[in-house]
């Protein structure tokens, strides 16, 4: 090697691969020798860097701004292993927030992002975002460092930055990147060019409640999420979030039995939230017909759904979204099943239902009504024509009393009764109507009869109110509407006079032993017969499934005639045949049917893909708060009762079938929703929506902050700077007056990567008149900063020229003390800004006040000596720089000295050397600098650092530092 002449000679990297797999990090043995021989750089007296390979040296760079980036890249290129700590989600520092850089008006992003990418790709640099040093201890020449790695709750390896998580997130926060001028979600990628380009979750504390509502809900509706949306006035977002797991929000918003409210943890403090009514509110504020059909990739497979009830339609809906060709067969003339034919108009307007079903049809689902299986089409044909079948025919068959005279005219089955009414057919009820039963159907029948004009409607129930299966509020409503209930009584005989029903004989009951259902069995009381005059009796004793039509399939039935299925998957014993809803459970609730349909859809999808069929989601028992959790929460949560949804008064409502409940006003809804405990915390509320949406399963809420222990040979600090907060300068009205903002905020507004994509807008309108005030928080004793911030003069000039460039005919004023355009090309830039028609006024304004059409700036022009009053639309405060908050902490743990303003102390001949040997500083941390100066200081710091780590132990001979 020594002999080799130096004429440019070329080898392939592979030839070197012995030492390095074309990594730039390891100095190959022979090359090192070469250097030693050449110029005798190796022997100690000559500084002796030559024989110390930097490759085994490690340096910690704190801060990922342009200063830190430069230092890190330089060190890495010298072969040093660098760890870069960035406290935030992405490197880039302040510079990446800039729209343009003076004086060339280069696009900041274009110039910086390649450097950021370099950092990411450089094999010598390990980048830790969300990380900062906690403790630093000097050991010999080196440092023992404890690094706090904050958890980002997203697996950086898995995340492929597709960004599908953020739209779903219900938590809207201010974007730090945009200096709060724009929103971001709790899960977010700060900006498109972020490095690392990965999402992170802004989780500040654990959710105070257990989100029992979500677990209680058969379809795991994201309750927390939509309540958060509603509480902050984003009603449409709330609807979409509900829609994501529920094809029938308007139905569930009205007639759901709301198991969520039963377990709502807030209920343990005061009242549970009105989760169902708020759902309805969300629906009321959304036009379902405007829903757009998503992008769907069609598959070849066809699926038949039998029964257009909630179960069947939910199943069809999800399959359609998955791209299957779905046909629904319905025996009745219209789709909807019990929703359409059993629930009366005053509880669920048909129009609402129509919309929801309309959307399902939009998805391409073909609903064939009036088709009865076995009559119009045989089950075998279906079996042959389709790749899979879902059966959701419900439980339409009414049960019989089994007493004498039941067959006489005037005795009618409840379901039958409701169906006739809901079909809009005329039906004459009697004067005296008795309804037998205590379920929701019975109540519906009674209230319907009342609305049909029956003077005297009675409910006959065998047990007491406590045992009534009907929803409590329904019973109350019933009583309000003047319907009596005969508890503990049951009919034993019906009498008809010339064919027409005339009276009913009943018998009193008393409660005996508990029966299978756990309810005490009613026992007849001897000699307690009594009779009631009736001309109509409606029996609502419960329903049964009607499954005769599938005999051909060989599906196993349970003894009560329902289809036997695996409740988690909807699998029957026959391959390709699935079932769910009342047809398998017997009469139950709408939301259970929807869940069953969705589970089946999930299974069918897997089955048709040839995958193993598994449960769609695992169920979790709703958790309750523990005693002391309750007490703790109660302590920090002000009491607030539930706000009830208004209803139409009784007198009016019994005269018609209009909906009884009226719905919340936005104010009430927001107030009620904000009672949700989850909504009370900052940042992520752990609603789990992102987990649902992340396909690579990158999200991990169980992550915890870690502490990493490392050893480094040297440390470079580049914590950068913050900007002065002018709130304390009352005279400028920052924070109180609209249209007064800081320079960096204005920068974001101008930026093409900013909230308005580069349009300079003040609440939607383009401002025309601008006033820039310089030296806010610089050269200013009151704000405790005598120093000059060095950049404000120029960035103001830049802003002025940007405005000139973007807004034709803009009026621009700039107030200054001295214009410090001292850098290369700065003076010229300042001049051209002036010449392009920006008015520079020497003198700092006394005050800014609001006027009818803008802001009034009062300033004394020191050149003319006169007092000026300038009216403008926008006032931009060129706020000075301050050391970054974190600097103080950093310096404390490293015992580094700072000056009166908190900048790190250095001397001008060794501009990066701190009082601690081996710790260096660059960039704004040691005083205001513009970008080129920061870059230079970054390099300088790197050079000092290199000296320190490569010549340690030889300082004396090196004759370097005194």
């Amino acid at each position: 090697m020594e002999e080799k002449d130096l004429s440019l000679q070329v080898r392939t990297a592979d030839a070197l691969s012995v030492e390095s797999e074309s990594n730039h990090d390891i100095t190959p043995v022979e090359t090192k020798r070469a250097s030693a021989s050449r110029g005798g750089g190796s022997d100690g007296s000559a500084g002796g860097g030559g024989d110390v390979s930097p490759s085994d040296r490690k340096v910690l760079v704190v801060g990922g701004g342009i200063g830190g980036i430069t230092a890190a890249l330089e060190l890495a290129s010298c072969g040093v292993k660098v760890t870069m700590l960035e406290e935030g989600p992405s490197i880039g520092g302040r510079m990446i927030q800039l729209d343009k850089t003076f004086p060339t008006l280069d696009c900041s992003t274009c110039t910086l992002s390649p450097k950021m990418v370099e950092v990411a790709l450089n094999r010598n640099i390990e980048l830790l975002s969300w990380a900062k040093p906690m403790a630093v201890e000097k050991v010999g020449q080196g440092f023992q460092v404890k690094i706090l790695q904050k958890s980002r709750y997203v697996d950086i390896q898995k995340c492929n930055s597709c960004g599908s998580c953020s739209p779903g997130c219900p938590v809207v926060m201010k974007s730090e990147f945009n200096m709060g001028t724009g929103p971001r979600k709790a899960i977010y990628i700060p900006f498109p060019q972020a490095i690392p380009n990965k999402a992170s979750i802004d989780k500040r504390e654990d959710r105070p409640c257990k989100a029992a509502c979500v677990d209680a809900c058969p379809i795991h509706t994201n309750v927390l999420g939509y309540l958060k949306h509603i509480s902050e006035g984003r009603f449409a977002d709330a609807y979409m979030l509900i829609r994501a797991t529920n094809p029938f929000p308007s139905v569930c918003g009205r007639v759901c039995y709301a198991p969520c409210e039963g377990v709502c943890n807030r209920g343990q403090l005061d009242d549970p939230l009105a989760i169902r009514d708020l759902k309805r509110f969300a629906v009321d504020h959304f036009d379902v017909d405007s829903l757009e059909v998503p992008q769907i990739t069609k598959t070849e497979k066809k699926v038949a759904v039998i029964g257009a009830g909630p179960a069947g339609l939910a199943c069809a809906h999800n399959l359609a979204v998955e791209g299957y060709d779905v046909t629904v067969f319905e025996a009745l003339p219209e789709p909807g099943g019990m929703l359409r034919y059993a629930i009366p108009e005053y509880r669920l307007p048909k129009e609402e239902l129509r919309k929801e079903i309309g959307y399902i049809e939009k998805l391409g689902v073909d609903i064939k009504c009036g088709i009865e299986i076995g009559k119009d089409i045989t089950i075998d044909t279906i079996k042959n024509d389709f790749d899979a079948i879902f059966i959701g025919t419900g439980a339409p068959k009414g049960l019989l009393l089994g007493v004498e005279g039941e067959d006489s005219q005037g005795v009618i089955d409840g379901i039958q009764f409701l169906r006739v009414i809901n079909s809009g057919e005329a039906l004459t009820t009697g004067k005296n109507v008795a309804v037998i039963g205590g379920g929701n159907t019975a109540v519906d029948c009674a209230r319907t009869a009342r609305r049909l004009g029956s003077e005297n409607v009675k409910l006959i129930y065998r047990r007491t109110r406590d045992e009534m299966p009907a929803a409590g509020e329904e019973i109350d409503a019933l009583l309000h509407e003047g319907i009596e209930i005969e508890f503990l009584s049951t009919p034993i005989r019906f009498y008809a006079e010339n064919g027409k029903l005339s009276k009913m004989e009943c018998m009193r009951m008393e409660l005996g032993e508990a029966d299978a259902s756990g309810r005490r069995r009613p026992v007849p009381v001897d000699k307690s017969e009594f009779s009631l005059p009736v001309d109509m009796v409606i029996t609502a004793l419960g329903q049964a499934a009607q499954t005769s039509f599938i005999e051909g399939l060989g599906v196993t039935l349970a003894k009560n005639g329902t289809i036997a299925v695996d409740s988690a998957t909807g699998l029957t014993n026959v391959e390709g045949v699935f079932a769910g809803g009342d047809v398998s459970t017997g009469p139950a609730y709408v939301v259970d049917a929807i869940a069953a349909g969705q589970k089946a859809a999930f299974s069918i999808n897997r089955y048709l893909k040839g995958e193993e069929v598994t449960a769609a989601w695992e169920e979790k028992k709703p958790e309750q708060l523990t005693e002391n959790e309750v007490t703790q929460l109660a302590a920090r949560t002000p009491q607030a009762e539930r706000i009830h949804m208004p209803e139409v008064n009784v007198a009016e409502r019994i005269t018609n079938f209009n909906e009884v409940t009226i719905g919340y006003s936005p104010e009430d809804a927001m107030a009620e929703a904000s009672r949700c405990l989850a909504g009370h915390i900052e940042g992520c509320i752990q609603c789990g929506e992102c987990e649902k949406r992340c396909e690579v399963r990158a999200i991990d809420h169980t992550m915890r902050d870690e502490i990493i222990e490392r050893e480094y040979d040297s440390i470079v600090l580049a914590p950068g700077f913050d900007l002065y907060d002018p709130t304390e300068k009352k005279e400028y009205g920052y924070g109180t007056l609209e249209g007064v903002m800081t320079g960096i905020e204005f920068e974001r507004i101008c930026s093409v990567t900013g909230p308005s994509g580069g349009d300079i807008l003040l609440n939607g309108k383009t401002p025309k008149r601008f006033y820039f005030i310089q030296c806010v928080g610089s050269r200013d004793r009151q704000s405790g900063a005598r120093f000059c911030s060095r950049v404000c003069c120029m960035y103001t000039a830049k802003h002025a020229s940007i405005v000139k460039d973007r807004i034709k005919g803009a009026e621009i004023y700039v107030s200054y003390i001295d214009v410090r355009a001292y850098g290369k090309g700065y003076e010229e830039f300042y001049k051209s800004t002036q010449e392009s028609g920006t008015f520079y006024i020497r003198g700092i304004p006394g005050e800014v006040i609001k006027t009818d059409n803008g802001l009034l700036v009062r300033v004394e022009d020191m050149l003319s000596g006169e007092m000026l009053e300038v009216e403008v639309d926008l006032v931009v405060l060129a706020t000075g720089v301050r050391p970054r908050k974190q600097t103080e902490e950093l310096c404390k743990i490293m015992s580094i000295e700072r000056d009166e303003y908190g900048f790190i102390n250095v001397d001008s001949i060794h501009p990066s050397r701190t009082n601690v040997d081996g710790i260096f500083v660059c960039g704004m941390a040691s005083g205001p600098k513009d970008v080129p100066d920061t870059v230079a200081s970054g390099g300088e710091a790197a050079s000092r650092c290199m000296e320190y780590i490569t010549t340690e132990g030889q300082m004396a001979e090196g004759g370097g530092r005194p």
């Binding site: 696009c107 274009c110 498109p192 060019q193 093409v752």
Partner: protein, 138 residues
């Protein structure tokens, strides 16, 4: 060329890796929409674009072509796009001489200007589409 006239315009764009292509990536990740007719060829620097490429693209049936790079002065290769500017300016003059000025455009789009990118290409697309349809009617 003939059999394509009833189709939507096809536009070939030559985009420099450091600015315009980056901008187009950003346009994508921001889910901004622009016509499918616009298709990019990535080049290291706009100065790599040989006018022959543009001529070829047009003769092979593209309804338009554009060359896009960093703003003058921002070039990653320090001066490249100044040469681009001269070459493409000349080529545009040539296209003008052959009465097909509208078929060649030169854009400066920086890495951050996703929206500018979308505006530029959409603008060009619509313009050409309009001319095309007008041509068909005539």
């Amino acid at each position: 060329m003939e059999e394509k006239t009833n189709k939507n315009p096809e536009i070939i764009g030559f985009a420099c890796s450091f600015c315009t292509f980056k901008a187009s990536e950003m346009a994508g990740s921001l889910r901004m929409k622009y016509p499918d007719g616009v298709k990019l060829v990535q080049v290291p620097c706009s100065s790599r674009v040989d006018p022959a490429f543009v001529i070829k693209a047009i003769l092979e049936g593209a309804d338009g072509a554009f060359v896009a790079g960093c703003h003058p002065g921002d070039c990653h290769f320090i001066k490249g796009n100044y040469y681009t500017r001269r070459k493409i300016a000349a080529l545009k003059e040539m296209f003008d001489a052959f009465s097909m000025k509208d078929k060649l455009k030169l854009f400066w789009v920086s890495a951050a200007e996703a929206r500018r990118f979308v505006e530029k290409v959409t603008g060009m697309y619509d313009e050409i589409k309009e001319k095309k349809n007008a041509g068909k009617k005539a």
